[in-house]
Subunit: 287 residues, 2 copies
C-alpha cells in the first residue's frame, strides 16, 4: 500500500477500462511496425514479455497458460493430423506446441507482421524455440483474412486463430465471413480453434463470437482458462467442428505423447475447462 | 501504452512479486485498525472496493466471482442445512449468499476486525445488503482460531473460512490444528470450505493447503475460478467432507432455489470448476 501514488518509472502496464495490469521491468524494444506498436520488456517475475499496441500478448514464464489451451484440445482431437494452419501466433508459442505432435506433417503459419516474428526470434526465443527451425513449419507473412479467402476447400485438419484483441489489425478475425472461409478450408473431420476473449473484460464480443461461430460450424463450444497478464486474467478459446463435437474427446495416443510435459493441459483439465461456463454466459447463449 | 511512466495519482494498485493490479479511482477511507490497514476506494470500473493491508478483497461489481464460488458448492450439498459458520467474511458477501438458502436457520459469523464490518456496512452496503439485518445472522467479533478451538464437537452443517492471504492476521487459518478443530466441530454430513489461494501466484501455499486439508478430512478437493482483482486472477477454494465427497453433488431443491439468480455459479459450472485442476497441481498432489 505504501506504493500508492508512487511515481513508478519501471512499471509496464496494460490499461483496460479503468483497470490495469503491470509488470515491473524494463523496456528492451519499442517500435512501430507497419501494423502496430511492438514492445518487448524484461521482467523479474515472468522474464521477457511482448506487448502489441500496449496490450500484453505473452511472456516467457507465463505463456503455457495460453498456448497449451489453444493447441491441444484441437490437435488431440482432429480425425487426421497431417496439415494444420495457424493464423497469427507471431511469438511462436502456438507453433511450438503444435509441433510437439509428431504426426503433424506440415504446419502453415500466416502472420501479418514480419517484425513480430523477427523480434520474437531475437528476444523471446525460448517461446518459439525449436519451432523456428522445424522443417515442417511453413511461415508466410501475409494477411490471414486474405489467405483463407483465396484457398481451395478441404485443406486443413486443424485451423488455429491466434490473433490479438478484436480491434486494429485483428478485427477481421472475428467476422462471420472469416469463420465461413475457415470452415470451408477445414476438412470434415477437422477442428477449428480461436481465442475468444475474456468473458469478463470483453463480455459482449466473447458471447457474440461464440454465437457467430455456432452459426457457421455444426458444433462449437467455449473453453475457459487463465492468462494472468490479460485483462481480468480469465480467458476463453472456442473450438468448433463439422462432423461431431470431436474437440471434447482427445484421442488416447495423442494424449499420451504430450501429457507428462504439459504445465496446465491434461484431459481432466480440458474436460473441466469446457464445462466451466459461467452462468451469465450460458444464459446468453441459450437465449 | 501512452500511459507508461505517467505519474498516476488516481490508481490504487495491489503489488505482488513484481506484478500489480490496479483500479482507477479514489480513496474514500484509509485507516489502521487494531489488526490491519483498511482501505475503501471508489472506482468507475467496479464501484466501491475494499483492500486489507494493501491487498484487494472485494468490489461491488466483481464480488460474485468469489462469494458464489465459496458458498454454493458447500450450502447446496451438506446433508442438513440448519446451522452454518463463517470465519472472517467481514464485507458481508459470503453471509448474503449463505442467507439466500432459506432452510438455513442460524448463521454464525466470527470476524476478527470489527472495523471491517463497520466500514463495509457504511461504504459497501450493497455487498452485505440485507444480510446485516437478517435475524438468522449471529455476528461476533473475536478470533476465529480461538472460537473453533473452544467449541464442542459436531455443531455445524457447514463451515466457511473466508479469510485473507496466508500472512498477517489470517496466517493461522491455514494451519493443521485449525483445520482439525474445524473437522471436529463439523457434523458428519457437513461440508467445510476455505479459500485456498491462487495456484499461480501462491503456488506453494495452494498445494500445501490442499495436502493438509486432505490429511485432516476424509475427502477434499480444490475448485478453480476467477477473481480478476486478485493476484493472477486465477483463484481456488477447497471443499472437504467427512462421510463422502458430497460437495461434488449439489442437491436438486437447493440448486433450484438459487440458480436463476447466480452470476457465475451453476451446477454445470461447479462440476467443471472442480475438474479444471491444472496439470502441475495434479502432479504435485499425486506425489
Amino acid at each position: 500500500m505504501e506504493q500508492i501514488n508512487q511515481f513508478s518509472n519501471n512499471w509496464i502496464d496494460e490499461y483496460h477500462e479503468g483497470a490495469r495490469y503491470g509488470l515491473r521491468g524494463k523496456i528492451l524494444v519499442n517500435e512501430k511496425s507497419d501494423f502496430q506498436e511492438i514492445t518487448i520488456i524484461d521482467s523479474p517475475r515472468y522474464g521477457r514479455g511482448l506487448l502489441l499496441d500496449g496490450c500484453w500478448m505473452t511472456a516467457e514464464k507465463q505463456e503455457k497458460h495460453y498456448h497449451e489451451a489453444i493447441v491441444h484440445p484441437a490437435l488431440c482431437s482432429s480425425k487426421n493430423l497431417r496439415r494444420a494452419l495457424i493464423i497469427g501466433g507471431g511469438d511462436g508459442g502456438t507453433a511450438r506446441e503444435c509441433l510437439r505432435h509428431l504426426s503433424l506433417e506440415q504446419l502453415d503459419m500466416i502472420e501479418l507482421d514480419r517484425r513480430v516474428v523477427e523480434l520474437s526470434k531475437k528476444y523471446l526465443n525460448c517461446i518459439g524455440g525449436s519451432a523456428w527451425e522445424d522443417p515442417r513449419l511453413k511461415l508466410c507473412f501475409e494477411d490471414g483474412i486474405e489467405y483463407v479467402n483465396n484457398l481451395d476447400n478441404d485443406i486443413y485438419d486443424v485451423i488455429i486463430v491466434d490473433g490479438s484483441d478484436a480491434k486494429g489489425p485483428a478485427k477481421g478475425l472475428f467476422n462471420k465471413i472469416f469463420f465461413q472461409n475457415c470452415r470451408r478450408i477445414l476438412k470434415s473431420g477437422g477442428v477449428f480453434a480461436t481465442q475468444s476473449e475474456s468473458p469478463e473484460s470483453f463480455q459482449k464480443i466473447h458471447i457474440e463470437t461464440i454465437k457467430i461461430i455456432r452459426e457457421v460450424f455444426e458444433y462449437a463450444d467455449p473453453l475457459y482458462g487463465w492468462v494472468p497478464m490479460y485483462p481480468s486474467g480469465w480467458w476463453s478459446w472456442t473450438f468448433a467442428a463439422i462432423d461431431s463435437p470431436r474437440y471434447l474427446e482427445p484421442i488416447p495416443n495423442r494424449i499420451k505423447a504430450i501429457k507428462d510435459t504439459c504445465h496446465i493441459w491434461s484431459p481432466t483439465w480440458q474436460q473441466g475447462a469446457f464445462q466451466a461456463i459461467p452462468a451469465f454466459v450460458e444464459r446468453e447463449l441459450n437465449k
